[in-house]
């Protein structure tokens, strides 16, 4: 997408400060509670550092910027994105002749907000429409939580009265099919599987035929975890995608890349390569209930323009939230703003 740095800065001066006002509203704070809990460690360790740093600094100088850089890197925000953020901040400080470190707080929050929103309306809703068979494909490396996420998403749509079917596309990993089956029993959704070792594309094909015949609203397709540098496995995924595309026009309506919040810079490589193979429409950031910072999502948005749809905050059926950048940043910075 086209992104002009100068335009960005001109508009930004209006945006400045508005953002912290947004957070004055009580309702926002309430909604942000879950994020806060999930990101407790992030706030206290990394961003607590930020506050301490800003308070303890007498002036804005190179040392301060270096330390800012470090704090962002500790949050696993991509190195390039961090450099970009810090460069913008330097510019802003110069243009607006800011000298008090405390004044940086709003700027930093706004910076990250703009970085994500990019003057667009970013929706976390999935493209699920009435009157058609909706296909959502879940992809990602091994062990990120694809199957668990499918369970949670299925639950969400089931609650909304949709006829949901899970498709066991991970025919490789031992126990993967049964893992999904157990989730489908918990949720009370339909479940489609063939025997272990089947060609995943054929599983998808048969599942789609079945779904068409039985008027299913949403099918959620699991796939085997694969590292993005495995050529053959990525080709297999390409084929899965192609088969779905061929059977239903415009499908898969969503292809979600599941990323573990503990992932470091490799998350960017994952997003890049999976995006090349199957056009990724959104990210699900899992395991944000740990101490992981999940900052890599900002880099992914910054470099690849892929929005984050959901965040996973635990192992229960309800532990899935729509991603909301305001709440996300609020969760990170609330100490600084208050």
């Amino acid at each position: 997408m086209c992104y002009n740095v100068n335009d960005f800065f001109e508009e930004r001066s209006d945006v400045m400060g508005i953002f912290s006002k947004i957070f004055q509203s009580k309702e926002k704070r309430k909604n942000a509670q879950k994020y806060k809990i999930g990101m407790e460690k992030t706030r206290t360790s990394v961003l607590g550092n930020l506050q301490a740093l800003l308070i303890s600094s007498n002036k804005i100088d190179d040392d301060l910027f270096d330390e800012l850089e470090e704090i962002f890197i500790m949050a696993d925000i991509g190195v390039d994105t961090v450099i970009k953020i810090v460069d913008h901040l330097r510019n802003q400080v110069e243009i607006n002749k800011i000298s008090k470190p405390g004044d940086l707080t709003d700027m930093i929050v706004d910076e990250m907000f703009q970085l994500y929103v990019r003057d667009e309306i970013v929706s976390s809703n999935l493209d699920i429409q009435d009157g058609r068979l909706n296909v959502v494909l879940f992809v990602g490396v091994n062990g990120v939580g694809k199957t668990t996420t499918i369970g949670k998403v299925a639950h969400q749509y089931k609650e909304r009265g949709k006829k949901v079917m899970m498709v066991a596309g991970d025919t490789f990993r031992a126990g993967a099919i049964n893992q999904l089956r157990i989730w489908s029993e918990r949720v009370g959704s339909l479940f489609f599987a063939k025997e272990a070792g089947s060609d995943p594309s054929s599983v998808m094909f048969d599942a789609i035929q079945y779904a068409k015949e039985h008027n299913v609203d949403v099918i959620l397709c699991d796939t085997a975890g694969r590292l993005q540098n495995k050529t053959n496995l990525m080709k297999e995924l390409e084929k899965i995608h192609r088969v779905i595309e061929r059977e239903i026009e415009g499908a898969p309506h969503e292809t979600l890349l599941v990323i573990d919040a503990t992932t470091g810079q490799n998350g960017l490589s994952q997003a890049k390569i999976f995006h090349e193979v199957t056009k990724i429409t959104g990210i699900v950031l899992t395991k944000l209930d740990g101490t992981a910072k999940g900052g890599i999502v900002l880099a992914i948005r910054d470099e690849l323009n892929i929005p984050i749809k959901y965040i996973g905050l635990g192992e229960g059926l309800d532990d899935l939230e729509y991603f909301d950048i305001e709440e996300y940043i609020y969760g990170m910075f609330s100490d600084v703003i208050e």
Binding site: K41, S45, E70, I73, M74, A75, D76, V79, V141, N142, G143, V144, G145, T147, F172, R173, A174, G175, A176, I177, N178, Q179, L180, R181, I182, W183, L227, Q228, N229, K230, T231, N232, D260, T262, T263, G264, Q265, N266, G267, S269, K287, D289, G290, T291, A292, K293, I296, E315
Partner: protein, 468 residues
């Protein structure tokens, strides 16, 4: 293999130095900034990065280097030594009881790869240490986790003790220990549920398991792709349980694996093994010094030698070498060679081990499937053709027939012919080399240069030739 990008970055920053006769302070500053950035990009913990660059800088700034004959090489050496130090000096072995029942306990976050690694480890130790292992399924929380371990056990023909998910892990464990003693097992490997290090309840469960098992090793399984959080995870598990070693998984990805660098330095937990794929034999001893070489793109000749000797009969190897040297290398030998490579693991992984090859493999799409294609083409040849490669070279109808027979294009067959030729030529040249002059750190460097393909060869295995 991991660290590709890190080694590229370091090589880039060091190249500037390598070309120079003398270093200025500014050179070193600039280089250290590159080193710092690339380490951070590799997910090395920032505290480790700070210490690392500081130490390297101090040493590089010393008199010795500035007055040295080849300062560039010395800096590379300093960085290498320092990397080695950070990761621990040598491979740390697992601890076994002299007699009786040895027990290991696998712990870690969700999705790190505990269950797969438990299977891999049991399989490896059965072979290497002649143990009779028992896998114990204590993950009663994740759906189908027990079934996963049972399936792995079936694949490996290793006993798995499980009681489903209705009993508490501690109770299952007690029965498992009895079972192991009754059935003559001398090694227990316990798979536990993945959990967050901040989940007190589940950490309490691990403590209870530890109290009953009294394990010889508590192994933290950690994903090589983990970011800055790796340290807090490891520290927390260590404080609560006393971790004796770490196993780094998913190192076959393109992650730079900075966690490996930081883990030992910050937490003092040695990394004992590393997981390199989804297959159950893809586990290797973690060698810090080899890893350091790999990071710097210096290759890993030692691992290659290990792999070769483990998988190939020496006599076979010698007769193959003789054939190559004499120039009578044919397609039968070619296919035999490929089978060796297959036995040793993935082609891409193997190539990374060869000094100088690391960078070349980057843009090459190395695909183990290519081996299958080559095999198909060779199998479409007549016995005569395989023995006498000239027949194919001279006849386009033979080439066409082979292409059709193997479902490939004639151009693919031509490329295969080229590969064989190159390899024969290459071996002839190698036979003229003086073995004493081969630099162990850079065997590629001692090859006589003629022809542009030359630099891409390694170890007579002629790997890049399979590029189609």
């Amino acid at each position: 293999m991991a660290f590709d990008n890190l080694s590229d970055r370091l090589q880039m920053s060091l190249r500037r130095v390598t070309g120079k006769g003398r270093l200025t302070e500014k050179d070193i500053e600039e280089m250290m900034r590159e080193v710092r950035l690339s380490l951070l990009e590799a997910d090395v913990n920032f505290k480790v990065v700070k210490q690392f660059t500081k130490k390297v800088k101090e040493q590089a700034m010393g008199e010795k280097i500035l007055k040295g004959l080849n300062p560039g090489q010395q800096v590379v050496k300093i960085v290498h030594e320092e990397l080695k130090q950070v990761m621990g000096d040598k491979a740390e072995p697992l601890t076994f009881k002299d007699s009786g029942l040895t027990s290991f306990m696998m712990v870690g976050l969700q999705g790190a790869g505990k269950t797969t690694t438990a299977g891999k480890l049991a399989n490896l130790l059965r072979k290497k240490e002649v143990k009779k292992p028992l896998l114990v399924a204590l993950d009663i929380y994740r759906p189908a986790a027990v079934e996963q371990l049972v399936t792995i056990g079936e694949q490996l023909s290793i006993d798995v003790f499980e009681k489903g998910i209705d009993e508490q892990p501690v109770d299952i464990l007690k029965q498992a220990i009895e079972y192991a003693k009754e059935n003559g097992h001398d090694l227990i490997v316990c798979d536990t549920a993945g959990r967050l290090h901040i989940n007190e309840e589940l950490m309490g469960e691990l403590k209870a398991i530890k109290a009953i098992l009294n394990p010889d090793e508590i192994l933290l399984t950690i994903d090589a792709m983990t970011g800055q959080d790796a340290i807090s995870v490891a520290t927390s598990f260590d404080e609560q349980l006393g971790i004796t070693g770490a196993i780094l998984t998913k190192l076959d990805g393109d992650t730079r694996g900075g966690a490996a660098l930081s883990l030992r330095e910050v937490t003092n937990i040695p990394i004992k093994y590393m997981g390199l794929g989804e297959k159950l034999d893809q586990i290797e001893v973690f060698h810090p010094e080899r890893m350091a070489s790999r990071i710097l793109g210096m290759g890993d000749v030692l691992t290659l030698v290990d792999k070769v000797t483990e998988n190939i009969d020496e006599n076979d190897m010698m007769s193959m070498m003789e054939k190559m040297m004499s120039g009578s290398f044919n397609y039968d030998d070619f296919i035999k060679q490929m089978k060796w490579i297959k036995r040793m693991g993935s082609l891409g992984g193997l190539m990374k081990l060869i000094p100088g090859m690391n960078k070349m493999t980057k843009n090459m799409d190395i695909d183990d499937k290519q081996l299958v294609h080559v095999e198909a083409m060779i199998q479409s040849m007549t016995k005569k053709e395989r023995k006498n490669p000239k027949l194919i070279e001279q006849s386009s109808s033979r080439r066409r027939r082979i292409a059709q027979g193997s479902g490939k294009k004639v151009s693919d067959v031509n490329r295969l012919i080229g590969s064989l030729e190159q390899q024969t030529k290459m071996m002839k040249q190698m036979s003229k080399m003086d073995p004493n002059k081969i630099d162990p750190n850079n065997p590629m460097g001692s090859l006589p240069t003629s022809g542009q393909q030359k630099q891409k060869k390694g170890k007579g295995k002629n790997k890049n030739r399979f590029r189609f």
